[in-house]
């Protein structure tokens, strides 16, 4: 009986390790620019870009006590506002790349499928890109002008799970003058309705999943 319990415990532990490894990001080195992850459409949970020539990277790290650098999608269909947030690090400090988009009334996760193949111009007014230290939300920071290209948005095998892949590049003003260039950006994330999406109802509250 003891032996069986030991085997069950060992198998459970192995299962947890496999699960955590499977959810963590995979960095496939870009064959042309090895400092960045390769552009993929597999849900590798990784992203990267050059920020003023330095490398910003985001690789989702799942551990026993939580996870780091998860992507987030926040949507307020009533306000026609969609926020896509990628967090990562650069020179051992955390930074966030975010995009505020209008015209995509996302109330359930599958509504994001409308972004498939869409190249969205970031004009800095209606749609904008953001670059912020830490995990802060894009409020009061400079609005980036450029583009985000959702090259592939597709369903994964299980319901409530999407792959969001694409590229981005934008330039935003610095508060003290000058500008910041975010270039050669690419992302390939798995978006889970439960883990990575906050979809608010028209009334302002969170939608029930």
């Amino acid at each position: 009986m003891k032996k069986i319990r030991l085997i069950v415990n060992a198998l459970s532990l192995a299962g947890i390790v496999v699960f955590l490894t499977a959810c963590s990001g995979i960095v496939i080195q870009d064959p042309i620019e090895p400092r960045l992850p390769k552009y993929t459409e597999d849900g590798n949970n990784a992203a990267g870009a050059f920020v003023d020539g330095e490398v910003w990277r985001s690789v989702v790290k799942v551990e026993f006590l939580g996870s780091h650098y998860d992507p987030y999608v926040r949507a307020w269909p009533g306000k026609d506002s969609l926020l896509v947030i990628f967090s990562g690090s650069m020179a051992e400090r955390d930074y966030t790349v975010a995009f505020r988009l209008k015209g995509y009334k996302v109330s359930v996760l599958d509504d994001l499928l409308a972004l498939d193949g869409k190249k969205i111009e970031l004009d800095g007014v209606v749609n904008a890109g953001y670059w912020m230290p830490g995990y802060s939300l894009p409020m009061g920071t400079g609005k980036g002008v450029g583009q985000i290209y959702f090259k592939k948005v597709k369903k994964m095998g299980s319901p409530g799970l999407l792959i969001l892949s694409g590229t981005f590049g934008f330039r935003l003003p610095k508060p003290d003058g000058g500008s910041i260039s975010v270039s050669s950006g690419r992302f390939d994330y798995r978006i889970s309705e439960v883990e990575n999406a906050e979809l608010y109802s028209d009334a302002g509250g969170l939608q029930e999943h």
């Binding site: 064959p31 552009y39 981005f168």
Partner: protein, 217 residues
Amino acid sequence: MNQNKQKMNNLLKRILIVALSNSWIAFPLGKIHAQVSLMAGGNCSNIRDHIPIQGKSAILGYNLGASFQYFPFKGSQNLSLIHELNFVKKGYQQDLDKNYFYRFNYLTFSILGDYAIAKPVSLQGGLEFGGITTTNIKYWRKTYNEFDIGLVAGANVKIAKRLSLYGRLTYGLLPMLDYYDIDEMGNFNKEIHDVKNITYTIGLKFNISNEKNKTHR
């Protein structure tokens, strides 16, 4: 792109199998004069690209293997065929913020023609079929093509009874990479099929069995 890659890999696998199987057909055609040799050498390898790949430069590698040379044409003792099975380290490096090394270990099978232009010197040319066995790059199968075919040209100089020196150039014909040309804003300009091997090799070949010499004695 992945489906095309899969089709290409299957086709190249078939070519490799056909080349390997056909190459040994010469054996049963009567009594054949043959030489078996072990070979080892160093190589300098790099890539050719159009993209371009910034800061690329050559790396040094080595090759180890065996060669089987036979003289199938009774009328011409100057002309022979060589089959070689080699383990070859190829690749290149990229010097950016640091050195990024790309090492590809190929198992290659070559079919070469050898023509003796003077007593110790012969010219060689033919094809090399290769497949990547290992590399230092994680998840390489998601990026690089497994198979390569190269044109081979070189020379062989006999420097002792059983020892000869060989030098050759292998010019990869197939692209190692199927990817996209993505600009700084994230536009996909075009699909690229690029990055081809180029390898310069120099080495020694040690003859371990010389049926030709025995029969001529």
